[in-house]
């Protein structure tokens, strides 16, 4: 139902081009919880912004297709795109705690999109807003609040309720819980799972907190250097990582239930995305690298029920 095909995007400056999303393809089916994990600077946020056509200058989409129910988002004109937003796709941003307007009441900023873009009357809009706020556990008396009167967790819930207003089929969430405390984070995540059961939407969830992602997601994609290096079912990726980068990440992850004696970090630093990468982008940090990794770029291959891009397979 939601598909990204060979998407290339990046940031164009006068003297260089940062190629942040390199040939990324993925598919989100109904009821999927698709998780994208990667280090900071691997291009995961750019991917989301590009897929939703929200990438602002100097960002630029070079090529690719983003299909939703067969329609290519990248070829639509602005009014067609406006029609689709909120109804088909919605976004919960990274700093949603700060993405609410501080001088407008919660109910007014939530109903704004309904009234302006989708022709609701004020009364109908308020009613829908109230229904959605109740879904995320916010009582009607909070509708007249201003954002500063709500705690961080409540504000995050408001933003999630806002994304749900028009019952979109796919919701993108870019680090929705990063600025929150562990306990609040847990309750928000549970809220999302509950809502998914009730409203049956698919989610694309982006975070750098990999233990969280493995716990929540049904499918997972590991991103490195602007590319997906491993895509598969979350549990099988966790129990049997194939790409050396995924292996490294899992070995670097202190876990609360395991009693591992030693965690190892991945040596080196992430690759500079403004460079023209030849060979495997991960080879300099990889302990399995051999000659072929220098010269030939590994393509995504379907091995053991999942996609991996590594010359070892």
């Amino acid at each position: 139902m939601f598909e990204v095909i060979n998407l290339n995007a990046g940031y164009e400056f006068r003297d260089k081009f940062v190629h942040a999303v390199r040939n990324v393809s993925f598919k989100v089916e109904k009821n999927d919880f698709f998780g994208i994990a990667g280090e900071s600077g691997c291009g995961k946020s750019t991917l989301v912004l590009a897929a939703l056509r929200l990438l602002k200058k100097p960002g630029k989409i070079m090529s690719g297709k983003v299909l939703i129910d067969g329609k290519d988002l990248l070829t639509l004109n602005d009014s067609e795109m406006k029609e689709l937003r909120w109804k088909k796709v919605a976004l919960v941003t990274q700093s949603s705690m700060n993405s609410l307007n501080p001088v407008i009441k919660i109910k007014d900023q939530m109903s704004d999109v309904l009234i302006k873009n989708h022709g609701y009357s004020k009364a109908d809009a308020y009613e829908l807003v109230q229904k959605n706020l109740e879904l995320v556990g916010i009582t009607a008396d909070r509708m007249d609040s201003y954002p500063h009167q709500l705690s961080g967790g409540l504000r995050q819930r408001v933003v999630i309720a806002m994304a749900l207003l028009m019952s979109p089929s796919v919701i993108f969430m870019d680090e929705p819980t990063t600025a929150l405390d562990v306990v609040v984070q847990r309750s928000i995540l549970q809220q999302i799972q509950e809502l998914r059961k009730q409203k049956a939407f698919s989610a694309v969830f982006i975070t750098h907190d990999i233990s969280l992602l493995f716990e929540m997601a049904t499918k997972i994609a590991i991103m490195y250097g602007g590319e997906f290096v491993e895509i598969g079912e979350a549990h099988s990726v966790y129990s049997n990582p194939m790409h050396p980068y995924t292996k490294g990440l899992l070995e670097a992850l202190p876990s609360i239930s395991k009693n591992l004696e030693k965690y190892k970090s991945i040596p080196g630093r992430p690759i500079d995305l403004s460079l023209n990468i030849t060979g495997c982008p991960f080879r300099e940090r990889c302990s399995y690298a051999f000659e072929k990794c220098e010269v030939e770029k590994p393509e995504l291959k379907f091995v053991n029920g999942r996609w991996t891009s590594c010359h070892l397979y």
């Binding site: 562990v182 847990r186 549970q190 233990s211 966790y238 202190p254 239930s257």
Partner: protein, 314 residues
């Protein structure tokens, strides 16, 4: 094992003006803590529980409203002379959360590391610098000395900050969430560095974190703080594997874990109490599913199975 740091009944209050009223925020409400030689003690808790305030009191950034700090068995007076202050700073160093903000962006690494040597009049500058850089695994040192902070990655910067902290040969390092701003792939490198410094340089750490998994890995003992008081303290593995206080249980259930199988219900778990007028009894009582009438009264900090818990259940 000998004690290097002991604090008793530390209280810290902040005055907040609200219109014409002046309110008192009780950030720390009587904290006792002991730190042994060559030990990593982690303090965990939600934001606002007072863990960073405690660290700042220990570092003498804030002056405590009440309580006693003892360093190597000697009471640290409220006012120190310039030379005593220097001696204190030499022994107690700090590492902050944000490696991007805690290095001067206009100075080279060499300058950053020379400052403490100049201040504490330590000789053999270049040798000392070289040895601390190799201690924090930034080798060869020459590659880093002439660099500016922006040329280094987050993990490398945090290593430089650790190098700056150990250059005065301190016995205690106070680390405030040293890994929370770092990527997963380098987080464990910094935790391993802390373990190495503890072993090789006999440094004790007070490590403030909200990451229970990291605390379990790196520390010898864990202290769980809630609303300005300590609710549980004990051996790190025990506290995480088998938390006794209901708040520690909540923290453990909330922590992300890929191997979780059971679904716990945490949709509505409430919020920490206001520290302006905290409840007299157990501060966790309003959120606690085991709450009893006696929780409203003062609750003692008791020894249970080799650890200490502030809860009426035990």
């Amino acid at each position: 094992m000998s004690l290097v740091l002991k604090i008793s009944n530390i209280k810290e209050e902040f005055k907040i003006r609200k219109g014409i009223k002046i309110l008192t925020l009780k950030a720390l409400r009587g904290v006792d803590l002991e730190l042994n030689e060559q030990e990593i003690l982690s303090i965990v808790g939600e934001s606002g529980c007072g863990k960073t305030t405690l660290l700042r009191v220990l570092a003498r950034i804030y002056e405590p409203t009440d309580g006693v700090i003892e360093l190597f068995g000697n009471k640290v007076p409220k006012k120190l002379s310039r030379s005593e202050e220097l001696e204190f700073r030499k022994n107690v160093q700090m590492v902050f959360q944000d490696p991007f903000a805690s290095l001067n962006p206009t100075k080279k690494i060499e300058h950053v590391l020379k400052r403490p040597l100049k201040i504490h009049k330590i000789e053999n500058e270049s040798e000392v610098i070289e040895s601390v850089l190799s201690d924090v695994e930034l080798t060869p040192p020459d590659n880093y000395l002439t660099k500016f902070p922006h040329e280094l990655s987050g993990g490398q910067r945090q290593r430089v900050i650790f190098a700056r902290a150990i250059i005065t040969k301190p016995q205690i390092i106070l680390a405030d969430e040293p890994t929370s701003m770092l990527d997963v792939s380098i987080k464990s490198g910094i935790l391993n560095l802390m373990l190495k410094l503890k072993e090789e340089h006999q440094i004790s750490f007070i490590h403030v974190t909200h990451d229970l998994a990291a605390a379990k890995y790196v520390s010898d003992r864990i202290t769980v703080m809630y609303a300005g008081i300590i609710v549980e303290e004990g051996n790190a593995k025990d506290v995480v594997n088998n938390p006794l206080h209901p708040y520690s249980m909540l923290l453990k259930e909330a922590a992300p874990d890929p191997e979780r199988s059971s679904d716990v219900n945490m949709l509505d778990v409430g919020e920490p109490p206001s520290l302006i007028d905290p409840p007299p009894g157990c501060p966790f009582e309003p959120r606690c599913k085991y709450a009893k009438p006696e929780c409203k009264g003062p609750v003692e900090f008791r020894e249970v199975d080799g650890r200490k818990v502030r809860c009426v259940l035990y």
